[in-house]
Symmetry: C2
Subunit: 205 residues, 2 copies
DNA sequence: CCCCTTATCTTGACGGCGACAAGATCAGAG
DNA sequence: CTCTGATCTTGTCGCCGTCAAGATAAGGGG
């Protein structure tokens, strides 16, 4: 694992560090994440990552950005088999959201507000924004109104996002014991029941 | 600040560490939190906290538990002037939830799933549980059914919790830019609009 | 073909960190 | 007064992120 490689130059260190970084993230979590361990895992000196990512924040930000892109893929993946019903498509996005949070809990935490990433990179900001735009698109298809054109629709979009995100976060952090004891499939069903009230028509009082 | 105190024994070190610990949490966040700095802030040697809290996890867990208790107070505080309408009381809890998240963002993060607390202490677990029981009580008053007696009511309770928590978290982590640009009071109004669909009657289909 | 510039990676050092062990100080019981 | 246990200090260890200086490779211009 720490075997010396034959060539002085690695060749594709940046990609290798990202791969190893995500592995370590999954193993040790964000708190136990260490640049030196990632470097050693790739078989490279402890200061090598600096050239590609600047500092630890840089690597973590890159990992988070990559996470947001895969996050989007997870939502789209669920939608692929969900037919063309607007309501079903939104629910599918929610399930994809949960899939991602469950399959990469540490990355999920890193992405949503871990302090070890300071100000988000440009790359990170756009990747995160794209993920929300996807949800906003689902909402627009369901309601027939763009969230950016109608405050009530925006409120609904934020509600949807908040509910899904809160559910995923509370599951992830172990705070929702009642639901946590169920198998994942049943958790999903439970989520859909809880989700249902947000799928109705807009109540523009 | 690091002045040597006259007596060898501090007298009330445990409480002083908790106070200084929360201060440091607010200043540097969870990631920058350091036992040694807390100790130095109290004017005590770097190893002194160990006797009262074991290790860093111990101090953080104690801070989180204290946080959950104050969290409950924040919800009750909002309810004090909310009349006796079940719906208004639940909304008030939600607003208190947001108040707390906004006023102690770092503590809020620590409480909900930071990895630097390992397995929750007994104290921490009960404090966290009491906070959820409060919300469950609000739901029960609104619906007339205990969440622990009716799965649909439980789903509703989880939905309420998830939405409020997700909203608070996304605000806290800066991911909800659209809402973040509004003043707090308007954020609260926005939250209530988004929250409304969850306040209706149970749809036990 | 050689040299030179530049990117890449290594080595070594610094201070700060959490944890541990051993010793100093104090308070209170007997 | 002494003994005992709780409380706090001092010193050390290994690990961490960051920085600076040097070694190595790669590629282009002569």
């Amino acid at each position: 694992m720490v075997r010396r490689r034959p060539t002085y130059h690695h060749g594709d260190l940046r990609a290798a560090l990202l791969r190893a970084g995500e592995e370590q993230l999954a193993r040790t979590g964000v708190a136990g994440f260490s640049l030196r361990q990632v470097a050693s895992r790739v078989g490279v000196s402890h200061a090598a990552p600096a050239h590609h990512f600047g500092d630890a924040q840089g690597l973590l930000a890159a990992l988070a950005a990559e996470g947001f892109r895969r996050f989007l893929v997870a939502m789209r993946h669920r939608q692929a088999n969900a037919g063309d019903n607007a309501r079903a498509l939104l629910v599918a996005s929610g399930l994809g959201y949960l899939d991602f949070a469950r399959s990469s809990p540490a990355l999920f935490r890193l992405m949503f507000g871990d302090e070890r990433i300071g100000k988000p990179t440009e790359e990170l900001a756009t990747a995160a924004n794209n993920a929300f735009l996807h949800l906003a698109g689902d909402i627009e298809r369901l309601l027939g109104v763009s969230a950016f054109a109608n405050p009530t629709a925006m409120a609904r979009a934020m509600a949807v996002w908040s509910l899904v995100h809160g559910f995923a976060s509370l599951l992830n952090s172990g705070h929702m014991r009642t639901v946590l004891s169920m198998p994942p499939e049943q958790q999903n069903h439970f989520f859909q029941v809880a989700f249902a009230p947000l799928l109705g028509p807009l109540d523009t009082d």
